[in-house]
């Protein structure tokens, strides 16, 4: 598979959501990273990722909420696909954790049996010191292979 196509590279930026001071008790952001199938060559070619869009939305809300829930649906076909996904937009969670007292991160891949353990997810994020710190401090709680309870 090729490279992911982040939202920002598609030439489209998210608009400003919050033009006035706001106080939201609970902000939920649902996002996805999905494989794209090219019918012409009958193969999976790219990933479409909404992680940059989610990161942008979070960056706009950092000082406005007490509780952030981020849900990521990763459309993995095989476990090895995971290496192709760019998780760098999640770095925003590090700086967000300095202002937001509680962050829940739900990640689910749809692969059974469970493909992505909490430890594996943490290892994908280990380059981001603020994220690891916020996990250790209990601000960021990872729910691996789980969906947000409705």
């Amino acid at each position: 598979m090729g490279q992911a196509i982040p939202l920002s590279e598609s030439g489209h930026n998210l608009p400003k959501f919050f033009s006035a001071p706001f106080d939201i008790q609970h902000l939920t952001i649902r996002t996805a990273v999905l494989p794209m199938y090219n019918k012409e060559i009958q193969t999976w070619t790219d990933w479409t990722t909404w992680l940059p869009a989610a990161a942008e939305a979070i960056s706009q809300c950092i000082s406005l909420t007490q509780h952030l829930t981020l849900s990521i649906n990763i459309g993995l076909r095989t476990y090895s696909d995971l290496a192709e996904i760019d998780f760098s937009p999640l770095a925003i969670l590090g700086s967000a954790s300095l202002s937001i007292p509680h962050i829940d991160l739900y990640v689910h891949t749809g692969i059974l049996p469970s493909a992505l353990t909490r430890a594996e997810l943490i290892s994908l994020l280990e380059d981001y010191e603020d994220i690891i710190r916020s996990i250790n401090e209990g601000v960021l709680v990872i729910h691996s292979e789980k969906r947000i309870p409705e």
Binding site: P15, I24, H26, L27, T28, R30, A32
Partner: protein
Amino acid sequence: MRVSLEILDLILGFLIPHRETLIACSKDQVLFPIVKRHLYYHVIVHFGSNNRRADTNYPFKPDRLSKLLSEDPRILNYVKILQVQFKGDPLLCMRTFKLELDKFAKTLVKFPVLECIIITSPGDSDWCFLSEAFQDALENRLSLPTVMEIHFLHFADEILPDLNCKNNLALSGYFSTPGQFRSLQQFLPLDPFYRLKPYPLHRWAKSHIKELRSLRCVAPVGGGLAELLEVCSGTLNELDIDFENASRKF
């Protein structure tokens, strides 16, 4: 053993989702007066073609329901959930739908104690297919103090298809230009107020946005959300931004 009317009434209330059973019970002359209240608790009106025999929800044709209500107006007081659904290509059936909707609008305003209104569009159509008379009637009923739950389902090219209750508004929408998921340029801008203006229903919706406590918005990539949030900034305490379901539209 005798069962009191109150207990019987309670038991029948549990059978509301099992319409076939209620219909069977209603054939008993003794039970009928008690069953009737539950039988008409959730009424489905179906516009367009439908294989009614295969539909276990037993929907009414609008003419049939209007006739039934004129024969027994007490039924109006039993209806708490009114579901309006359509079948058929909205482009081909537009004229038929409009005529039927105009006619049914006069019946719609008669329901005095509705608690839930569900409108299911004929798939990817917009508000235009609802006649103005019907929209006016709907707006009138939406303003009833008893109405606490509203669902507008499967509306295309719209910002406000799902109003889950007066205090909770779920925003979602399809986009009129299906295409490459990657190309966000093909997403129509989400501009609530632009689309809120033209129709009476939207006037109603806008006035209730001020009372929102929770908001779910699918793919707010085109703008307009800021204005929406500003209107309800005093009450909103839960915001759900959904990029995941936007991607599933394609």
